[in-house]
Symmetry: D2
Subunit: 363 residues, 4 copies
């Protein structure tokens, strides 16, 4: 056996479901990376994951970030810990892949935007994995190449089979709708300027006071409408669909999800992806492989700190919209280095790397 080229040494902070999934992916199927440090507020959990993949446990997350053997950081801790941890990564000059949300409020998110701008180079990548899903990539490509003409409407459908009891209406905005916020910004390449939430009859599976499903409506800077049905207790499967309606055509993804089509018992059909792993496993792996490649060059390759801030701002407006029933404007602060009137997003990825190529090589 030979000594391979040196690997990116990663610290994984938070090894709940998502963090453990990433830790295993880094350890077993991501080329060019190795998890050297695992951290979790639950020491047992940290020890279990670290033991499984041959890493050290470091009890203090900030210490883990500063660890001299750590080249880059993956943050999958609860949102309220993110502000401090991302800032620590910036302080240490280490690339970081931060699961959504960037932080839990607009101001702390914007502070990170400013901190990264002061540093002068992109280090913070947000875990909006759908941008790496083959279907979203193909849909974006179709829009970009003019296959649908000018996009006029986006319709999103986001259905979860089940969620914990504490997922109330506000939580649905912050944790589920946040994905559609990024999808809309990604597909339309412009900011969201207002949010409205329509609350109707709720499923009997929802706790009292929680509107599940809801219809969320975004307006964008150019006046486009985006609708999003968010329904997280369907009891059925994980169904995520997006349709873009343009001037010369419409296109839908997430409709024909099936490996095998059967005819049995008088019916034809297929299995719907039961959970996010089946639906977005490829997207998570591609995201990670490409982040490792970019982080090895000291940069990022995907949605950045501004995308994280914008999503937090829209969700904050969304929570107000849930509570008031009104249309709530989204007012973003100035983008560092960009004229305030800029319409397009200016995602932080390196120029010239705009599509997943599944190959995350390092020079």
């Amino acid at each position: 056996m030979a000594e391979p080229a040196s690997d990116l040494r990663v610290a994984v902070l938070g090894v709940g479901m998502m963090g453990a999934f990433h830790a295993d992916a880094l350890a077993t199927r991501t080329k060019g990376a190795r998890v050297v440090v695992v951290n979790d507020f639950a020491p047992d959990k940290a020890a279990e994951v670290a033991g499984r993949i041959g890493a050290r446990v470091v009890a203090d997350p900030l210490e883990a970030i500063r660890d001299p053997e750590v080249d880059a950081v993956l943050i999958a801790t609860p949102g309220k810990a993110h502000a401090e941890q991302v800032q620590a990564c910036l302080d240490a000059g280490k690339p970081v892949l931060c699961e959504k949300p960037l932080t839990t409020d607009e101001d702390s998110s914007y502070a990170l935007v400013e901190a990264e701008a002061a540093l002068g180079r992109p280090l913070v990548q947000l875990g909006f994995m759908r941008r790496f899903d083959a279907e979203y990539v193909a849909l974006k490509e179709l829009i970009t190449t003019g296959g649908l003409g000018n996009p006029l409407l986006v319709h999103c459908t986001h259905r979860n089979p089940s969620v914990p009891e504490f997922f109330n209406s506000e939580f649905m905005i912050r944790d589920s709708v946040v994905h559609e916020v990024d999808v809309a910004r990604f597909l339309l390449d412009e900011e969201i300027t207002s949010v409205r939430v329509l609350r109707g009859v709720a499923t009997s599976a929802a706790p009292a006071g929680t509107s599940d499903p809801m219809i969320v409506v975004f307006e964008t800077a150019s006046g486009r409408l985006v609708t999003d049905e968010i329904y997280v207790r369907t009891g059925i499967a994980y169904e995520v669909r997006t349709e873009v309606v343009g001037e010369t055509g419409s296109a839908t993804i997430g409709l024909d999800q099936n490996l095998v089509r059967t005819s049995t018992d008088g019916r034809w059909g297929g299995q719907i992806t039961p959970g996010f792993v089946e639906r977005f496993g490829q997207a998570y792996d591609t995201e990670l492989q490409r982040w490792v490649a970019a982080a090895s060059r000291g940069t990022i390759d995907g949605p950045g700190v501004w995308d994280g801030y914008a999503a937090v701002a829209v969700c904050e407006a969304g929570v107000k919209a849930v509570q008031t029933g009104e249309k709530v404007p989204v007012e973003l602060k100035a983008k560092p280095g960009a004229p305030a009137s800029a319409a397009a997003l200016g995602t932080d990825a390196e120029p010239g790397i705009t599509e997943p190529d599944l190959i995350g090589g390092r020079p």
Copy 2:
């Protein structure tokens, strides 16, 4: 950057389209492997690929196999070179992943079966990548778990957009139908006992004397029928479908291949996978990742030398069937270590590892 656990050092023999594809996959997206040696009968091609991925060129394939820095071998040379090269791998005790065909005739293939049996452990894996395709895996699982009842019929459709001029009817059997031979054996878990080829009207794109399309019919040991439409000059796309018809249900794969469904110009629909990379890229990568994991343990994880021999034997009968128009029996020699009457295949993979898990970890 850290020193990772030692990687499997691979020699890639033959870097035409398929070999170069594998070499790039090993170099850039297969965890735990490194290409250290590249060999090709065309020195320029070898140098180009080796340069791209940081490997050495070794001009003599047998020397490449014996190279002390080589842990395992990937053979993607022309079929007529396989017999000698696979034997050399067995002689060197090194795991090998051999692209189809195992060899170009039954006798030399059976010699390798015997040679591996004499060695006493499985070292030869065949590149029947469809066994690692998520759809075939799901279809196999559906059969195995009884979801269709006893399988009665298999219908295969294999359509290529185009092939080189030299793809005559015999070549279509050896190069294209061979995949359906393995698919039928894999899905039904029994041997094919006869082959018939029905030749009808050919596309005007076919050279004189070549029957394209053809209908190939297999019978299996238990009397099941397998039909295969093979059509390699459709001009359309790469369409591979398989339907299994069982006593209590039927199931089809390859039908709803699309990333995006569009409505444009009065029509709805999606793109068909244009080539084998789009259709089977995931299967090739999973095959390679799992082979690397197994080879690192000195074994294989997938179809073995017997599967390679059986496929060669069936294709040889198929070529006779093309030429004579008759139903040609397939008579396999005794399986080493197995009673001659054994019905099931006894694939050479390690017991207990029967489904792709996408994670090719090494202990």
Copy 3:
């Protein structure tokens, strides 16, 4: 040739596109009916259609209604003529099938509700043909039999390939959205209580000031939400889809409209129904056959005068909503003979005839 049982003798008022379609259907493929009188404000048109199907022209519509040889009336004149003509049918005690709208304002529609109530038996059927479409019938059946659990949301999509220049936003509500008004009432079996219209970026094919597409949102008496994308200048085809999202499942119609699925030019797919005849031809014919059967018994079999009034009231609110941007309540007057608080619709069809059976026989 034999003398058949006597046919229902029908007067067709208005033989524009819709009326001529109905006249031909009555004359050539509706069992048990005969068109005896044709009327149109354009004498040439009336003469042409009458000549084609062997009917008399009567120049005055009210005279046509009162004609002693006329048993029943089909009204396909412009909406502004409906109030007087439907009233004349009631006065004459003759069954009438009236194309939407019932009338052009709430008050005149309600006057007809009251007039029919005074008469004491249902004579007025509204031409909401979707209630006879096999897909809508199957969807309704699925809801009624509990296959989706309690329905929570309805999503409608209504896309026309093109419309005349005068189709402004208000017209889109009155002429296109009116179908979804009836669909929502039919599927959910309750009244619509408010309308909201969201206006976004318009297609460049729309005249200045016209919002095409728009998103219309209904609330129902029990608080359910219904969304409707209305887009009438897509340039593509006639696409009508409806999805119902219930507590235990969702169901969509209009998705897989195709006769033939092709694989050509690297794409698979099918033709979308180009126009309303291809999409709803069966529904129109079934509606007519069943109306003829019912009218021969002196009654109706389908949506009635109350459904017509409710649709006019909702559309009137919808037009206000387009103009003001506000959520506009719908306040229906009391239903004659029903307590004001009744939640369910109480469609006017005869009891016991609730599903299309394709067989419109007369005793």
Copy 4:
């Protein structure tokens, strides 16, 4: 009520499932026809149907045919009665719609071909209703207009949920495969020249000695291949699919049969048509409406006596092929009035009426 134009007076012979279905269709939803006479070897059954639709019972089928009040005859009696009854229709000069088979053997079928030729005008229409199914019509149109290039292969799938015990392999050929015989001749517009039947493992639901499923292979005059999977005890639903593979494209019908697509219980899908009424109800009704229109003019509009004879001849070869396992040639006698070498079918329909227009008007 008015006296309508005179109706075609029809005698229905045989009111088992199929005959009663037709009798009801004529009585309740076929414009321009009336059943005046009902005949069945079971007097009770005849009386029941006749009573339901207001017709007379005539006990002797030949007398029914000759009845002066009868204009045209619909034969749905058992096949062995057809030869005499069709001949009687020819003798009486009355148009007849004869359910398959024309007769039970080649010679008697050919005798009817000659008898009609002697008469000099087409009076005998065969009940191959698929030629009136909207999907088959669209598929035929696609071929005729060159949308697939030269058709090379046809693949048929014919699956019944269940059949009576007496449906042995021979019966499957005569009763089920006969439809695919006509479909192949219709789509390819040429004669079938040989039949082969491949018998594999049978479903355990099949009686001993019955091969269910079977693969039937036709060759056509120009050398094209047609495959047909016939499986009549699937226990699932009524699934009829046809795929045509041409030089420039392929097309499939029968794949996406569903009214409503649901997502429930982790699966998406739809109902497969449970029986022939759901699958071919429209085809039967269109066939009947067009036959009535043609018969009122003293002629036919659809497959004729030659098509009936050819189907009988192919099925006779098919039965021999089942019994011998050999490829059995089909040798048709000379077509009256046509050179023996004529390649195309020359269907007996009136020239210029080649597509269903759903409107079966009479002048």
